[in-house]
């Protein structure tokens, strides 16, 4: 049997005075796409943050195995170099740091890590051309500082463009669909689908079933109060769209 890309067991985590994730189990195999849904504040972004290695969250129990490695022992940059990618719910503006320069640095760190020669500026621009097209990205964005003054939709599209350049093994997309107009949603979703293959996997966090029409998930999970209270196939997302979360969260509470 193939080894999972991600294996989370009994993960509990929180901030200093508060527990947010209360025992999460989740296994994702290569070639799979999982959707993570759930009410506001249920812990979806926290799970993404803990996986990406954001400071300020304390893991109190459980373990996370990523491609056979103990993920929680790695620095954020090493997780990235191992092929973990987080598309941020709120991408950060970084004034004064040029987008192309930044992405080239990131890409070259990845190549160095794999023992491949670094690309110079010209070769890098050539390399990204196809990705720019794939996401129909406005090229002038690349000449601006990272995310600075980008519109909400431009920021989200830029996240997926970065993903297209870095070609991660596991991509976690945190509400990438929110803020995208209808056409942009199709383009971005289409981009994500083109990047899928038998060796990588996606964890797609969303509130809307619509995205899942384009990026069809193998599994759908519902997070509530830091626990996965229901898992199912893509039909579950449709049911949620109709019925909301009430029936699940109540079930969980009375269980």
């Amino acid at each position: 049997m193939t080894e999972p890309i991600l294996k989370i067991r009994g993960l509990k985590a929180g901030v200093v005075d508060r527990s947010i994730l209360n025992g999460i189990d989740l296994t994702i195999f290569p070639g799979e796409t999982h959707a993570l849904m759930g009410p506001n504040g249920s812990g979806k972004s926290t799970l993404a943050a803990v996986l990406a290695g954001r400071e300020g969250y304390e893991v109190t129990d459980g373990e996370v195995w990523y491609a056979g490695k103990n993920l929680l022992e790695l620095d954020p940059e090493d997780r990235a170099k191992e092929g973990l990618f987080l598309a941020f719910q709120y991408p950060v503006e970084i004034p004064g740091v040029n987008s192309t320069y930044f992405l080239k640095a990131a890409y070259n760190e990845l190549r160095k890590y794999r023992g491949e020669p670094e690309l110079d500026a010209a070769d890098f621009l050539n390399f990204v051309k196809a990705r720019v097209k794939l996401l129909e990205l406005d090229e002038s964005l690349l000449r601006r500082p990272v995310n600075e003054g980008f519109s909400g939709g431009e920021k989200k599209r830029n996240e997926i463009f970065q993903m297209a350049v870095l070609e991660p093994k596991l991509a976690i997309l945190d509400e990438t669909d929110s803020g995208l107009d209808i056409d942009a949603l199709k383009i971005v979703a289409n981009g994500v689908c083109k990047l899928r293959n038998a060796h990588n996997a996606q964890l797609v966090i969303t509130h809307y079933q619509r995205l899942l029409n384009y990026i069809v998930p193998d599994r759908v999970h519902v997070l509530s109060e830091g626990r996965i209270v229901q898992s199912g196939d893509k039909e579950l997302a449709m049911e949620l769209e109709e019925r909301g979360y009430d029936w699940l969260t109540k079930e969980a509470a009375t269980a």
Partner: protein, 444 residues
């Protein structure tokens, strides 16, 4: 601060061991007398004085300072110049050693409309111009050290740009100190006269070799004629044992545009006083500065924007990046005199603290005596943004690189305002390298 009748010992020894030789004009002699009296009266300012509250000159008193003599020929080799951070900048270069002009190390290509020579020589050769302008922009009474410079200077640069002349390449004034002599004082004095409609870019840079202690007490006067445009870049890169107390004083005639950039990179303790006299109507003035002290360095900027005529625009931007136990001081005074209506004065001071032990004292000071004016000021003090750092690391950039990119970006905000590309490029490289070692230190 009242002084006892007895003259302060440090003050008297600073003045007494210096002998100004040669024959000087009556006016210059009188100017020196007045300046000397000012300095005696003010003395070395103690921290009880409001303008020196954050900058303690106690350690300066510990030195037994004596004025540098004319340096020995051959006491510095020409390839020292090639190793200077700004050596790649093209254009004419006047080189000074311990405050004295050294022809052998300088390169001056004759050009119509441009006079570039030592002030010592100019005092006789261009006596009329010197008579007319020397002491015009420097307000000796404002700062005791400008007075000290006036009392004791012997040499420096004299530049004269004729009316309407556009000087293509920048002029570079390089001030070096030799390694051998410690506890020396240097008093370079620069007089720069840019006539109406002329355009010129200048750099004034101070570099200290080795680790010799001492004091550089410099004063630069920039007289800018009607409609002239000047970009002036001062780089203070003294060694970490020296004191640097320097003034740049600008006098701006009608519709002139002046951009003064001040970079404080070195010295144990430095104060750069920038005085901008907006004398004529409708002038535009930019004061743009960066200080990057580390270890136990102190970098102080004291700016005075003196609006004396209507429709003056002045923008001040000062960024500080402070590491180690360093200290930064920014003091921004804006004066709007009666009648200086429609003045538009803006002042921004931003600071990045890279350690818990670095400190910044910043003090805006607005003195407004006209009613139809726009004056704003703002200060920020902060650390590197953890959100930005995480974002970059989540893309695979090592923490050190992420820190470095953010720190350099903060410096570039200032450097990007330097219009001359060669100067901007050279400084950007030097500063990025300096800041590199700060980024490597983990403080968290």
């Amino acid at each position: 601060m009242a002084h006892s009748d007895e003259m302060d010992q440090v003050v008297s020894s600073l003045l007494d061991r210096a002998v100004v030789d040669g024959v000087e004009s009556k006016r210059l002699q009188a100017m020196r007398e007045t300046a000397r009296a000012h300095f005696v009266e003010r003395g070395i300012p103690p921290i009880e004085e409001e303008d020196w509250r954050f900058t303690n000159l106690g350690a300066l008193r510990e030195l037994s300072l004596h004025p540098a003599g004319h340096p020995q020929a051959g006491s510095i080799s020409p390839n020292v110049l090639q190793r200077l951070p700004l050596s790649t900048i093209p254009g004419n270069r006047l080189v000074f050693l311990n405050g004295y002009f050294i022809r052998r190390l300088s390169s001056i290509v004759e050009e119509d409309g441009v006079q570039a020579l030592s002030l010592a020589e100019a005092l006789s050769k261009h006596s009329a111009l010197c008579e007319r302008y020397l002491g015009h922009a420097v307000q000796s009474h404002e700062t005791p050290f400008a007075a000290l410079n006036t009392a004791l200077f012997k040499d420096g640069a004299f530049l004269h740009i004729s009316a309407g002349k556009t000087v293509r390449e920048p002029l570079h004034l390089v001030f070096l100190s030799t390694e051998e002599d410690t506890e020396q004082t240097h008093y370079p004095r620069n007089l720069i006269v840019v006539e109406g409609g002329a355009h010129v870019t200048l750099t004034e840079s101070y570099h200290g070799a080795g680790a010799s202690s001492g004091l550089t007490c410099s004063a630069t006067e920039l007289i800018v004629g009607e409609g002239a445009r000047v970009e002036h870049v001062k780089v203070q890169d003294e060694n970490e044992s020296r004191f640097h107390l320097g003034a740049v004083a600008v006098q701006m005639a009608r519709e002139s545009q002046v951009r003064v950039h001040s970079l404080a990179l070195g010295a144990k303790l430095s104060r750069t006083t920038i005085y901008a006299g907006l004398v004529g109507q409708g002038v535009e003035c930019l004061l743009n500065g960066l200080y990057i002290p580390r270890n136990s360095q102190l970098a102080d900027h004291f700016t005075i924007v003196d609006n004396a005529a209507p429709h003056g625009i002045s923008h001040e931007y000062f960024n500080g990046i402070l590491a180690g136990q360093s200290r930064g001081v920014f003091h921004g005074r804006i004066i709007v005199r009666p009648g200086a209506q429609k003045t538009d004065a803006k002042q921004t001071n931003k600071n990045l603290l890279l350690s818990d032990t670095a400190t910044i004292d910043t003090k805006p000071q607005l003195e407004i005596y006209a009613d139809d004016v726009k004056c704003t000021h703002g200060t920020t003090v902060g650390q590197l943004n953890p959100e930005s750092l995480f974002y970059m690391r989540a893309r695979g950039l090592p923490l050190e690189m992420a820190r470095h990119l953010l720190i350099v970006a903060f410096a570039e905000e200032i450097l990007n305002r330097i219009r001359n590309e060669d100067i901007r490029g050279a400084l950007s490289e030097v500063i990025s390298k300096r800041l590199g070692s700060d980024a490597e230190v983990r403080y968290d």
